[in-house]
């Protein structure tokens, strides 16, 4: 259903069967988090710490 498709889409997956969130930046850097606030700081802090 109208999946987002721009070039600057960031995604967050709730890892099945766990309490973790996997954040995927539009630059394709990925990292897992347990706290959504920390997660957004990292994701929106692109490119800081995003070397993939």
């Amino acid at each position: 259903m109208t999946a987002p498709s721009g070039d600057r889409v960031v995604r967050v997956h709730w890892v099945q069967g766990t309490d973790r969130l996997r954040a995927v930046c539009h630059c394709s850097a990925e990292r897992e988090f347990e706290d959504p606030v920390e997660m957004w700081e990292w994701l929106l802090g692109h490119p800081v710490g995003h070397a993939s």
């Binding site: 987002p4 600057r8 960031v10 959504p36």
Partner: protein, 344 residues
């Protein structure tokens, strides 16, 4: 800094609310006067006479043909806000003018632009085409909310609350228990939150309207375009049924739930809600049921958020809240709203 973004389009009313009669509503702290001219166009101007600021929506102010006559001393304005008559003199002061708001009537809503009128681009208004589509039947309403609009944004971006606040209506245990996927399209400025439940209890809201019984697949796909328009694409289907590769989805029932979240003031909100379905078209009984049930659900939220507003408004600054995984979408929406506020 205010928490309400300016230079944005907001839903002020349903088109059906505005006829050839004076109508007023406050949007983002601005009192606006609306009426429909004889050629059918909606006009919007400040609801304050330039003379002594008497509200032009207030009797004995009145509409005469396509002109509004102030009920206090008779200043008269045309549909473009120009003052065309003042009492007792023929010279009309040059500054006697109500600056009209940009208005667009679309998808059953009347949108107004709040902010710098030069920035009003109608093409930026997000769409909700189901609300006027002949392939859908829609029920709608609006409830006044005595809480800041951001509380309603939080509420709608996290549907896990359905399980608790709306148990017995739209909530079942699986909603809160199923993980979500969140995506933010930074260019378009849209937050997407999806929760696909493949095997769930069918809540009364959907059992009664669709006739499906027992277990169902229930998909919830949210698209929020800050600040005002929220879409929930709801898909209800027999367990195991999925849309075909071409998008055809004949076994499923689709409900497009639309909210327009319009700040009235810093601490109150117009909560517009619509439910458009692609089944039981024109069936009055289903329409009545869905309208009553949805209004009940909206009022459950309103009651909870009214209380929450009181708590937050009277608490000392700096009280902590705690976010968990279910809040991922709500946090994303806050970020986008902060960005819009900073830009305005």
């Amino acid at each position: 800094m205010t928490s309400i973004p300016r230079d944005q389009w907001y839903v002020a009313a349903y088109g059906a609310e505005i006829g050839h009669d004076l109508f007023t509503r406050t949007v983002c702290g601005e009192s606006i006067l609306f009426w429909r001219t004889r050629d059918g166009a909606v006009t919007a101007v400040p609801d304050r006479c330039v003379h002594r600021r008497f509200p032009l929506s207030q009797a004995p102010s009145r509409l005469v043909d396509d002109q509004v006559v102030c009920g206090y001393h008779g200043f008269t304005y045309d549909a473009g806000g120009r003052c065309v008559a003042v009492p007792g003199q023929s010279r009309i002061p040059r500054t006697a003018r109500l600056l009209p708001y940009p208005v667009v009537e679309q998808d059953s809503f009347v949108w107004v632009f709040i902010g710098d009128r030069a920035k009003a681009e109608a093409s930026r208004i997000p769409r909700a085409p189901w609300l006027v589509s002949p392939d859908h039947t829609t029920v709608a309403g609006m409830e006044p909310l005595r809480a800041r609009y951001s509380l309603l944004v939080d509420n709608l971006l996290d549907l896990s609350h359905e399980t608790y606040l709306h148990g017995g209506y739209i909530g079942t245990p699986e909603v809160a228990a199923t993980p979500i996927t969140t995506a933010v399209d930074e260019q378009a400025g849209i937050v997407h939150v999806s929760r696909h439940i493949d095997d769930a209890e069918c809540p009364p809201f959907y059992a009664k309207s669709t006739g499906l019984r027992g277990r169902i697949a229930r998909w919830q796909d949210i698209e929020y375009t800050p600040p005002c328009l929220y879409l929930l694409h709801s898909r209800i289907a027999p367990v195991g049924s999925v849309p075909g590769p071409d998008g055809a989805d004949p076994d499923a029932f689709h409900v497009e739930v639309v909210y327009a979240i319009t700040p009235e003031t810093e601490h109150s909100t117009h909560d517009f809600w619509c439910v458009a379905r692609d089944f039981a078209l024109g069936d009055e009984e289903v329409s009545t049921f869905l309208a009553e049930s949805n209004r009940t659900v909206v009022l459950q939220d309103v009651e909870a958020l009214n209380v929450l507003e009181q708590v937050i408004a009277t608490e000392p600054a700096g009280c902590q809240e705690l976010s968990i995984n279910i809040d991922t979408g709500g946090l994303a929406a806050r970020r986008l709203l902060q960005r819009l506020c900073a830009a305005s």
